[in-house]
């Protein structure tokens, strides 16, 4: 774990976001339907340090994208605080002070087809943040900056005069990255940036992101459901289940010595490209609805180690081996922690 004494760039504490999905009031009264609240994010604490890539991983509905949107301010938190470089994002500020903070964080979205305005030329798409944050004074300066950005993402200045539909998915994601970099941010939130891309293009984008991080000292919050991609790109990983973090650890240790039973289950689902003939044990059951999450530990209905305490008491994230885990079984020592090797129980033999 990065034991930096310096202040983390981003700190989330007790972050919650609930969504009201109740039926309309009249239907509730007439059909006696109860109010329904989705607890999309239910108390998440994360510290992200400068220069690292922190990944959130989990299945659909676990709340990882909601965290991403909370961090950049696309949602307001129901409770909890988001601190960016020591500043509380919930505090009231003048518009110009807020804009100065906003400039420092940007987001890349999953769908490169939906996140670019089809009526704008690529040049204007990339120039928009430069104009909005008044980062350049003259037309010529804007032009130079946009051309430099296009080159940084391995496109050509001539591509600026085209429209998004003229590009492939991978090229569009490059345009999104150029736009995100236009305001010279320090912190990028990437919500499944490669999930819509083919693997060979995914490799190009991941390589590009690694290069840009090195060149500009960027900090990433990376959201993905693909464990192999997360393994490749992250410094640290947080595993989410039903709106809560169940385990946070340095990447290598998380994959080598997973502790939480859910993390183990996720790792077991990774298809085995090494053809070691290892048997996967698919865990039964599915992610329960976040409207009525199970009591106690949310994972207990699917957990092979669950006991009475797990059904009643919600486990807290407690430090263990340099990471943190929210599991009664681990805390009590009921569940043995094993080195599973990086490829599961049976090591691949070449």
């Amino acid at each position: 774990m990065i034991q930096s004494r310096e202040r983390p760039l981003v700190r989330l504490s007790g972050l919650k976001r609930y969504f009201d999905v109740s039926p309309p009031w009249l239907a509730r009264v007439l059909e006696r339907k109860p109010a329904a609240i989705v607890q999309a994010v239910d108390g998440v604490d994360i510290e992200i340090h400068r220069g690292e890539t922190f990944s959130l991983v989990g299945e659909s509905g676990c709340g990882k994208s909601t965290v991403a949107r909370l961090v950049v301010g696309l949602y307001t938190p129901t409770a909890g605080a988001i601190e960016f470089d020591g500043m509380d994002m919930g505090e009231k500020r003048s518009a110009s002070a807020m804009s100065a903070i906003r400039r420092r964080m940007q987001m890349i979205f999953q769908d490169p087809y939906a996140s670019l305005n089809p009526r704008w030329r690529v040049f204007d798409i990339i120039a928009e943040p430069i104009r909005a944050f008044r980062l350049a004074s003259s037309k010529q300066e804007i032009e130079e900056r946009v051309h430099a950005l296009l080159r940084q993402v391995r496109l050509t200045p001539a591509d600026g005069s085209k429209f998004p539909h003229e590009f492939s998915g991978g090229q569009r994601q490059r345009i999104s990255i150029a736009r995100a970099l236009a305001s010279r941010p320090e912190f990028l939130v990437c919500d499944e940036p490669t999930s819509a891309l083919d693997v060979s293009v995914q490799a190009q984008i991941l390589n590009l992101m690694t290069e840009l991080q090195r060149d500009f000292g960027l900090t990433y919050l990376f959201i993905s459901h693909n464990l192999a991609v997360v393994y490749h790109i992250s410094t640290r990983v947080g595993v989410m289940y039903l709106g809560r973090l169940v385990e946070v650890s340095v990447t290598d240790r998380l994959f080598r010595r997973p502790k939480h039973p859910y993390t183990r289950m996720l790792l077991d689902t990774i298809p085995d490209l090494e053809m070691s003939g290892r048997q996967r044990n698919p865990v039964g059951g599915e992610v329960p609805s976040p409207i009525n999450p199970p009591s106690g530990c949310a994972f207990h209905p699917r957990c092979p180690f669950a006991n009475e305490r797990c059904r009643i008491e919600r486990p807290l994230l407690l430090p263990i081996e340099g990471g943190t885990v929210a599991c009664h079984g681990i805390e009590e020592g009921r569940i043995a922690i094993e080195d599973r090797g990086l490829r599961g129980p049976a090591r691949a033999v070449k």
Binding site: D198, S200, H225, D272, L273, M275
Partner: protein, 340 residues
């Protein structure tokens, strides 16, 4: 190439060509594709979007969307030619002898009928069973694909099932008439990883227990590695490589397959950079002459620009690449690398 069994192939595809007539000429989306599937075998068909893998599957079961059409070649099921059958005859075969599973389980099910009604209808279309016997068989199928409390669930509607459970229902539908072959087009793509693992395990078990052959179309090499016996890699409408899955995954011969495998992040080996194939797959309108992969191929020679390679023996697999021809690739090309 067969897996070593002497049984005649269940499905033979010979020089299949799928084309789309357009105002500016005919686009060839699947070009000269040939392969066999043996009884009980799982053949994976892998490729990136636009490689023609789904169209190949659709052409085999006669579900090409117009204006797409089979422009040449043959498809034989148990020796009988099925690509030129009239619609009604083919409809009988589809379902009875070939089952189909598609990516999105919600669009494969009719939202207005309970899953029981849909199963019973499909069973009675293909098998001479009374309504009550058909319902029994429907229950059996639901249990078989692992739907808990099948007696209660059989009268539920598709929207009352989760994504993974819906895909199980779709698989049960495909199994109604005990088909010899199932064509599964991205059956796990829309599902979460833990559900994906359950569905893969289910497909494997069904293949084993019923001797059903599966043509598994997917972009996910991981799913193929876990499930398939052999794999066919498609690129720009053509077969780039075909062979036993282990050999293709661990020791790919075609430069495209090699690059594709290298670009998948793998757990256990962390490199600063992933192996990267520059560029992108060509559009159907601009497929280069010679080998379709030549603009992106690090080993391309001048022969690759002129002559199109057919599948040829390359060690344990067959690859469409001049590297494995005695004549070689010719004079090596020099060029700068460009990104997509």
């Amino acid at each position: 190439m067969s897996t070593g069994s002497n049984r005649p192939p269940l499905l033979e595809v010979r020089n299949l060509r799928v084309e789309f007539p357009t105002r500016r000429g005919t686009l060839v989306a699947v070009d000269d594709v040939s392969f066999d599937i043996a009884p009980g075998e799982v053949l994976g068909v892998v490729g990136e979007s636009g490689a023609g893998k789904s169209l190949t599957g659709a052409a085999i079961i006669g579900l090409l969307e117009p204006p797409g059409r089979i422009g040449g070649g043959e498809v034989r099921l148990e020796g009988e030619r099925i690509d030129n059958l009239p619609y009604e005859r083919l409809r009988r075969i589809r379902g009875a002898r070939i089952g189909a599973i598609f990516q999105d389980p919600l669009t494969s099910l009719n939202p207005l009928y309970s899953v029981g009604q849909q199963l019973v209808e499909t069973i009675q279309t293909h098998l001479p069973l009374s309504a009550s016997r058909a319902r029994e068989r429907a229950l059996e199928l639901l249990r078989e694909v692992g739907i808990p409390a099948a007696e209660a669930r059989i009268d539920h509607y598709p929207h009352q099932f989760s994504g993974g459970m819906r895909q199980r229902v779709v698989i049960a539908l495909a199994l109604c008439a005990n088909p010899r072959l199932i064509i599964a087009d991205e059956p796990t793509t829309a599902l979460d990883v833990s559900i994906q693992a359950q569905i893969i395990a289910l497909l494997k078990r069904l293949g084993r227990e019923h001797g059903t052959a599966v043509m598994l179309v997917t972009h996910d090499m991981g799913v193929i590695a876990e499930t398939a016996d052999r794999v066919a890699v498609m690129y720009a409408g053509r077969l780039a490589e075909i062979g036993p899955v282990r050999d293709v995954v661990k020791d790919a011969k075609h430069p495209y397959t090699h690059g594709l495998m290298g670009s998948i992040p793998s757990i256990g080996e962390r490199h600063e950079r992933l192996l990267q194939i520059d560029g992108a797959m060509p559009r159907l309108t601009e497929i280069p002459s010679g080998c379709a992969f030549n603009p992106r191929c690090p080993q391309a020679g001048e022969r690759c620009l002129r002559e199109r390679p057919d599948l040829m023996s390359a060690g344990s697999t067959r690859a469409a690449c001049w590297l494995y021809d005695r004549g070689g690739v010719g004079a090596k090309l020099r060029r700068e690398t460009v990104d997509a």
